[in-house]
């Protein structure tokens, strides 16, 4: 067992979990933050993307114990004072989601893109989202949403 202490969405949490507990399970099973999804077991689909110390990572292939002491932000942590993050607003406005399963990872990943690049081109957005698979949207409105958010952030 390992004691894992994290700051998740601004709140300090501490849990004793088996050593092999992965971060996505820690968030979903131990903290009931089920907004982070698991869509594959091979670190391809990106539904599990969260921010660890501000950077997007795939929580399904990260051991919770490995990020002990970090600040973690999940999709649930983006809403501030009841207001959605501009990226969430943009996804809604541009219809950047359908079934919603890949969406949390998509949004977390896209936010990190804008942290790295202020006004990305279509090609840069599409390249960045390589690690996030969506089966519903054909990606077009996701790209449109990221551009919309870029114009607002």
């Amino acid at each position: 067992m390992s004691k894992v202490t994290l700051e998740v969405n601004g709140k300090k949490v501490s849990k004793d979990v088996p050593n092999h507990t992965i971060l996505s399970d820690f968030l979903r099973d131990n903290l009931n933050l089920t907004g982070t999804h698991v869509g594959c077991d091979t670190s391809q689909c990106g539904a599990c993307v969260v921010h660890v110390d501000g950077k997007s990572i795939k929580s399904c292939s990260t051991l919770a114990a490995d990020v002990d002491g970090s600040k973690v932000t999940t999709i649930e942590g983006l809403v501030k004072d009841g207001k959605m993050h501009p990226m969430q607003e943009a996804f809604k406005k541009m219809h950047g989601l359908q079934c919603g399963f890949c969406t949390p990872g998509m949004v977390m990943s896209a936010i990190d893109l804008l942290q790295n690049k202020k006004n990305p081109s279509d090609a840069e957005i599409r390249k960045w989202l390589e690690g996030n698979i969506c089966r519903c949207t054909g990606y077009q409105n996701i790209v449109a949403a990221v551009k919309e958010a870029a114009s607002k952030v």
Binding site: R28, F101, T103, R126, T137, G138
Partner: protein, 793 residues
Amino acid sequence: MASLVGSRVERKEDKRLLTGKGRYTADINIANQTYAVFVRSPHARAKIKKVDTSKALKASGVVGILTGEEIAADKIGGLIAGWAIRSEDGSEMKVPANPPLAKDSANFVGEPIAVVFAESLDEAKNAADIVKVDYKVLKGVINTADAMKGEAIHDGIDKNLCYDWLLGDRKAVDEAFSKADKIIKVDLINNRCVPNAMEPRACVVDYNTASEEITLYTTSQNPHLSRLIMSAFGGVAPENKLRVVAPDVGGGFGSKINVYNEEIVCSWASKKIERPIKWVAERTESFLTDTHGRDHVTHAELAVSNDGKFLGFKNETIANLGAYARVFGTVTPTYLFGPCATGVYIIPAAYSNVKAVYTNTAPVDAYRGAGRPEATYTIERLVEKAAMELGIDRTEIRMKNFPTEFPFKQTLIHTVDSGDYVAGLEKAKQMSDYNGFAARRKKSEANGKLRGIGVSSYFEACGIAPSAVVMSLGCGVGLWESSEVRFNPTGQVSVFTGAHSHGQGHDTTFAQIAADELGVTLETVDVVHGDTDKGTFGMGTYGSRSLAVGGIAIVNACRKIVAKGKRVAAKMLEVSEDEINFKDGEFVVTKSNKKKTIGEVAFACYLPGSRDSDFKSPLPEGEEPGLIESSFFDPANFSFPAGSHISEVEIDPDTGEVKVEKYTAVDDFGRIVNPLVVEGQVHGGIAQGIGQALHENTEYDETGQLITASYMDYTMPRADNFPEFNLGFTCTHATTNPLGVKGCGEAGAIASPPAIMNAVIDALDGQEISMPATAEKVWKACKLLKKSNSKAA
């Protein structure tokens, strides 16, 4: 009041899905739940000699282990084929038993043999590893084309043949062919695809020992249908003791129509072990056991005259059903495929002959478009080849054979109520700058690239419904849809629908429809679906039927509300009914302008009395209190969306990489309720079709091992595989429903594979290449091209 139908309304469901508050099946946990892990066959074909659970039962945390023996002893029924298809000779189709846990033989890799329940997932996995199954491994039948030559894999099913089906007139076709100037021939493989909804299948079952009711939370496109099948055929529980809830579902694409082994087993077992059970598929389990799509081997011919008129069509197809026939497995390659294979053309004589075969692979069933993508691929490859061989422009030859009068009686079965195929293709040509292609090709060639253009014109029969028709074709149930509309006393409206949303946006689009009909605001209306305990029985969502069938049930129920409202308003306003006009939520007396809002009328319907002795009841004599109406809508015909898509690809001959440079889609979906949602549906469909054409392939090796069973091996299209799609619409209203809507969910996936493949083949100077046109295949084709070019020089 502005009409909501037709507006780009942002989705009501988005806020919860965007903030992590979606509730998918895997998010549900029940106190004291056990975790299920299935023991699956590692062999494609094997006799099961013995299942030894003794060691596993003693493993840490194990609550129970169940096998095919126990499920058979409890007489739990198996999985079913939903459609009975007859062979050309009139004989009934051959269907093997498909028990939820295999007892005697396993017929595909991944077929469940036993299930372990344990206190934790880790313990369940560990115990499943030590369940010992003694197999006698047999040589499997894997390949579609050779399946009839292989050993029979199911007892009593000769040649592995489910049916040998014919639609059309062979004699008339022979006659037409004898008069043709030219016969165009194609041999096609429609590659097997894995639907790959991003949410893996899952179920959580809770058995209530007091009420003896089973609640099954599951990833289903059709919870009511699942309950019906599990109750009527599975014998898991009577319908009133089985509640099926499909909460937020992360995509379906056809793969979540079927009731699967795991749902039946866990529901049955929860009652047996008296504990809640949770099962969530790993992605590889999804690859191995979700129903797959397509997998046809087709030889087709088109008889043409020198001036480009189509005279006759024949289609000989072998369709792979996989190991078992499932709910839409047998109809997908017949009635959903054959009639549409003559495309959007007048072809006087035609037939489709389909031999459906069993193989030791995962069952094949409906996958976005189900039969219609295969049909469109067949005819559109033929038409493109005909244009090339006859030296006629690809758009001109299409226009020449389009019907221009509607209703159009298509050669096989369908009478298409409305359409304007010429307008669609003209618009697509204009939007794609078709005439400027030659210049763009030159430019590409100057850069050492090959450029091709491809057209695909399609129609499809969707809005899968008319019960009288589908039941006459072999469907085991009627495919109507239901709705109940409850106008609450304090003014809000709950709309219950039997359709199910797993990305389609029904919370919004159905609310738009109801709000318009009732003259209330969008915010007033809540759409409720996905729970057999809430609302009326319904058939679910597939075949682009939610709006054209389910949406109309909502319209009809709303109109009943308004009709009753009018009767009540007339009494309240002391006029006769025909003096009242209902508009924008108000019942207005035309002459005096006196009025009652629908909210006031609803309130009165629920409070039809008073302590004041002079008070007159607002209800006309004989009128019941309350304001709740329901409707079961069964349309007179399918609906028939149609359109033309044009794509342009550029090939790098040094790498074989195909880049989709331009993609233009012009579709006629009839009236559009929400353009934002419809565009999203089209984008997604096109992407799935391009995935099939260029990237996705499901590959079994000769022993039946699925070698593309993870995202490491199966190419899921990514954002950078696509250009920005350019969408346009034409509109002819459907005449078979009061909204004039046709359905849009599958069109993109139907039209796009031939649009892309025609472009790739055009770039390769007519050299045939099969789907998916991967870089390796295209690179090889480019080498052949260079050789023949240098010979010619």
